[in-house]
């Protein structure tokens, strides 16, 4: 077909054709991100007695358990920072990542009916489950503020850098979420892998302890886990006495996150056209 005739049509569908208006379509459907997230938030606590309080209660209880286990029983050092704040400042990004990852992994399968009946950019589905987890993250953030107020603990000036680490956390959650969502459509094995990763990840990420306990020569390798950079960054930005941020590991985590996100989008786009056939 000659190019002049191509211009006549808005949309051409062919095997293996990468749509040039992919991102424009995504923009046209931008409201759907929020509608889907809004739906999930609305639906989640319907027919529950304490409703939205669950999103506060869950991280709060985890924090208490961690404080007792690591702070009181294992007596890990926390410097001058109250142990609950040390734990919670790490729990915040970790829970965001873990929730987003878990929700994104089942998001496509959960909307199988929609995917096999309606066209919309598939990227919206896992993304909106990350957004839902982000809303939970904001709720938990409010707890941290309350906790700091309770202990009369002022954050450091580094807090201006916090948005950077929030973006980093978002990127990590998105990248991992896209991979797992797309893989799960075809290989349902990943249903069983996800809880394992989340459980395991909690202990290999510096949530219950500070990554200062890791020897310096191992820290770069430790930063292969992208959550290390994120969590260290959160602590550095929020806690005033924990002023030594090991920047090489943060930079390394950034590279890993960027890589994860980029390949995640590539893999998702490569497979999304067959979702309706295999889901």
């Amino acid at each position: 077909m000659n190019p002049a005739m191509n211009n006549d049509f808005d949309l051409i569908l062919e095997a293996g054709r990468t749509e040039k208006n992919y991102w424009r379509d995504l923009w046209r459907y931008r409201e759907l991100f929020f509608f889907l997230a809004w739906r999930d938030i609305l639906v989640r606590y319907k027919q529950t007695v304490i409703g939205i309080a669950w999103s506060v209660l869950r991280p709060l209880l985890t924090m208490i358990v961690f404080t007792i286990v690591f702070g009181k029983i294992a007596k890990l050092p926390s410097g001058n920072t109250p142990y609950p704040i040390l734990v919670f400042s790490a729990l915040l990004p970790w829970q965001f990542f873990a929730n987003a990852f878990t929700e994104a992994s089942t998001s496509l399968i959960g909307s199988a009916n929609m995917i096999s009946k309606i066209y919309f950019p598939r990227l919206i589905v896992p993304t909106s489950s990350v957004i839902v987890s982000f809303v939970d993250f904001l709720f938990s953030g409010a707890i941290l503020i309350a906790l700091m107020a309770w202990y009369g603990y002022a954050p450091s000036v580094h807090i201006v850098a916090l948005p950077l680490f929030i973006i980093l956390a978002f990127g990590a959650a998105m990248g991992a979420g896209l991979w797992i969502a797309a893989l799960n459509v075809k290989y349902r094995d990943f249903r069983y892998v996800v809880p394992f990763i989340v459980q395991f990840g909690l202990f290999i990420s510096p949530v219950g302890f500070s990554s200062n306990v890791v020897p310096d020569r191992w820290r770069l390798i430790y930063a292969l886990n992208p959550l290390v950079g994120v969590i260290d960054g959160f602590r550095w930005a929020l806690l005033s006495d924990n002023a030594t941020l090991y920047w090489p590991s943060v930079a390394f985590s950034m590279v890993i996150v960027a890589l994860l996100l980029y390949t995640g989008i590539l893999y998702f786009r490569a497979t999304e056209k067959t979702f309706a056939d295999v889901i």
Binding site: D8, F35, I118, R188, T274
Partner: protein, 422 residues
């Protein structure tokens, strides 16, 4: 002339896995299969088709080409599995073609199922916004049309009730109302009329007809021939993934039904071993065909032919036919005494029964056959001998699509009236 949709040599291949079990594959089997095929390739470099053993190719669409000009209303008809849904799925961008090309001009909306994306826990109001967004409407558009949608669905009272408490009729009404208020240039509809009560179906048809009059391009798939004929101007018949007919919608419907009824409405038991029989009676063949024309519809009437072999001499025998709707409502019984005065000999009986025009309503029917001795004793009974369809092609008024009239029979009765001016 400009073109709204242009489809060129479109094909879609599915791989059917012959492994039992679920449709998705596990990572382990993907890995082991991969390793196995690599191994095979190393061991048998010549045998390149190792995987073909497990997977079979199935062409849901094969080399389909047609064009639609803007404002055309095209009906796509064909049996289940003929590729209609696959075609619509490709055009609506849900799945990708294996080869060929689809080119389109204008905003496309497709309605392959009513109410997809509805969430049972959300209220009607919330679902209108959600569903609208999924179908590609902007929030401002939905807000603008909100009252219209609610009025069309006739459910002002239940707006704030969770959809899971709705009756299925209400659910469908709301879902269609949202979809009907999209304003695309190209509208793709699959079987949405199969749902809802007759009243609402009529309303949906009216809405779609008015959409058509506004100059939108419509692709419509349905098994309801009257709806297709009334809504569409052009028709395409698909059979086994290929276009078998293209032309005016009346010809397409005629073609489709004609072909269909040929092989369906008669059974010959040529092989005696398979014929239904007992010690008295053996069936040879049963058939039904239209009295007038080629299609059995309300106005055509029908002739039922039953050929059977009487195996025992010396009985007074008779035959009776019980006619049922497909959901099992008995309409009537009818019969004839074949040897009332003299005892029957061994041999073949060929019996015919005429069902007059304007008796049966459109719909599916089936019948049982009963062979009787001495006017009362049952010799042999065959259940569900044959089923047939009274097509929905003719209407009494001759007007547009009125929906299937209610009732199991559809008599044409004489009416008179008088009028006195006040």
């Amino acid at each position: 002339m400009s073109t709204a949709i242009k489809i060129e040599a479109l094909s879609k291949k599915y791989l059917i896995s012959h492994q039992q079990g679920e449709r998705y594959i596990t990572f382990r089997s993907a890995i082991t299969d991969g390793v196995k095929s690599v191994g095979r390739r190393i061991l048998h470099p010549a045998g390149g088709t190792a995987r073909a053993n497990q997977k079979e190719e199935f062409w849901a669409l094969k080399d389909v080409s047609f064009e639609v000009t803007p404002g055309d209303r095209l009906g796509i008809i064909g049996k289940n599995g003929a590729g209609k849904s696959t075609l619509l799925k490709i055009i609506s961008r849900i799945t990708e073609p294996t080869s060929g090309r689809v080119s389109m001009k204008g905003r496309v909306s497709s309605l392959l199922e009513v109410g997809t994306g509805f969430h049972p826990e959300l209220t009607g109001r919330e679902n209108i916004f959600l569903n609208g967004a999924i179908l590609g409407m902007r929030k401002v558009e939905i807000l603008k049309k909100f009252d219209e949608i609610v009025a069309f669905a006739e459910m002002e009272k239940f707006l704030d009730t969770p959809v899971k408490r709705y009756s299925s009729g209400m659910y469908v009404r709301l879902a269609f109302a949202v979809a009907a208020h999209l304003e695309p240039e190209i509208l793709i509809i699959d079987e949405v009329l199969a749902v809802g009560d007759a009243q609402f179906q009529k309303k949906c048809m009216g809405k779609m007809e008015s959409v058509g009059r506004e100059g939108r391009t419509i692709l419509f798939v349905s098994h309801n021939m009257a709806a297709v004929k009334s809504l569409c101007k052009w028709g395409i018949v698909l059979s086994r993934g290929e276009v078998s007919f293209r032309g005016a919608v009346e010809d397409a419907v005629e073609q489709y039904i004609g072909r269909d009824s040929l092989n369906k409405n008669e059974i010959h038991w040529d092989d005696i071993a398979n014929a239904p029989e007992n010690e008295y009676i053996r069936l040879k063949s049963v058939s039904i065909k239209a009295l007038h024309g080629s299609v059995i519809d309300i106005a055509s009437g029908a002739e039922i032919t039953i050929d059977f072999y009487n195996k025992v001499a010396g009985k007074y025998i008779g035959i009776a036919l019980h006619l049922f709707t497909l959901d099992g409502v008995c309409l009537f019984t009818t019969g004839i005494f074949l040897s009332d005065k003299e005892k029957a000999e061994i041999g073949m009986f060929s019996t015919k029964c005429v069902v007059p025009p304007y008796l049966l309503n459109a719909g599916g029917y089936k019948f049982n056959l009963l062979f009787i001795e001495n006017r009362s004793d049952l010799l042999y009974r065959v259940e569900d001998v044959l089923s047939f369809e009274v097509e929905h092609t003719a209407t009494l008024s001759g007007g547009g699509y009125m929906g299937r009239a209610v009732g199991v029979i559809r008599p044409k009765l004489d009416w008179t009236y008088e009028f006195s001016a006040r």
